[in-house]
Subunit: 184 residues, 2 copies
DNA sequence: CCCCAGCGTTCGTCAAACCGAACGAATCGA
DNA sequence: TCGATTCGTTCGGTTTGACGAACGCTGGGG
């Protein structure tokens, strides 16, 4: 899917979050970014609609990639059921594609096919921070997701969830799936 | 360290690229995004410094993630039949993963689910240079690959081939597949 | 041939993003 | 206690991004 969140509040929150993580004041950040601190004050208050260059200079000053200021933390579990999700137009009528997840540079995505047999659940330890898992079920049924928030999936279903927390794989019947493991 | 490129020209280029990929005019895009076409004209000319909300509405209208408008873009055929390929050890015996392709930073990988109906073959034009396609068939049978070098695939089969040459999709029966589109 | 619809660009206007200055509050030393 | 510093916010003024109208251009239809 796309970005349903209005970027207004997202930017305000991200800005404050990253600034506090850097441990600097509004005035100091304004100084480094070459902006007026009044501008920052309004931005963090959720008022205002910054220009690209303004936000860009903030990303540089904070030392974070631009997208981190704009896109909400993908820390949630997201499921796209088979047949759901945004359809992309195709030149021909016999072809439909659904965008599940858009990559960005500076991330690394490895592509696997995973086969699971029913039996005791497999609990995976947390991977490196910032990793994200994407799974599309090819056949069978599996239950997966972060511990305490698992979802049952069938063929064609898609799920993404953070890989840096303990999570869970369980085949309810013999199953296989495509796994994209994403690192940063 | 991060993105030293001034986003000005990048946005102009990305905007034009994505708009032409969608096959619509500046006027049409302005209509869909709820903007004045004069604004778009100046943006694609590299003049101007759009606000976040302006760029956001363009991303939505174009059906592309926001980051694609802001970050710059940076062969042979390979088939792995279902059950073939290097198996990775798993902690449990009921879990097997096959590594199909390892990603690297500075590449972008978008994840799709693709549905095809049998009928006349779909010939895709070449995508942007350096793009690579990865396909894992989820169900049905398809024939795909670069023109003149197509392969028939069934559930679980994997193929990768360059996306920047004309290629070919054909469903031999109703089929669906996971598609990873990789750019540089 | 002309007319019309749509294209992309240019120009003047207006709202708003950004700035600088001033403000009250809080902290710290002398 | 009292300056001095820094913080974050608020207030006019200026710059500029976005808009709407008009322009010239192109491709079809009548």
């Amino acid at each position: 899917m796309q970005q349903p969140a209005p970027p207004l509040a997202t930017i305000a929150a991200a800005l404050r979050r990253e600034r506090e993580r850097a441990g600097i004041s509004i005035a100091e950040l304004a100084r480094r970014a070459g902006l007026a601190k009044s501008t920052l004050s309004q931005l963090e208050a959720g008022t205002g609609n910054p220009s690209i260059e303004t936000l860009w200079s903030l990303g540089v000053a904070l030392g974070v990639p631009f997208s981190r200021l704009v896109e909400p933390l993908e820390t949630q579990v997201r499921v796209v059921r088979a047949g759901e999700g945004p359809r992309l137009q195709a030149d021909e009528a016999d072809f439909v594609a659904t965008l599940l997840a858009a990559g960005s540079p500076h991330t690394r995505r490895d592509l696997y096919v995973m086969e699971l047999q029913p039996g005791p659940a497999r609990d995976a330890a947390a991977h490196i921070p910032g990793s994200v898992e994407h799974i599309v079920v090819g056949g069978g049924r599996i239950r997966t997701g972060p511990d305490g928030d698992t979802v049952e999936l069938g063929p064609g279903d898609y799920i993404t969830f953070p890989g840096d927390v303990p999570h869970h794989y369980e085949a309810l019947e013999p199953a296989w799936a495509v796994l994209v493991m994403e690192h940063r």
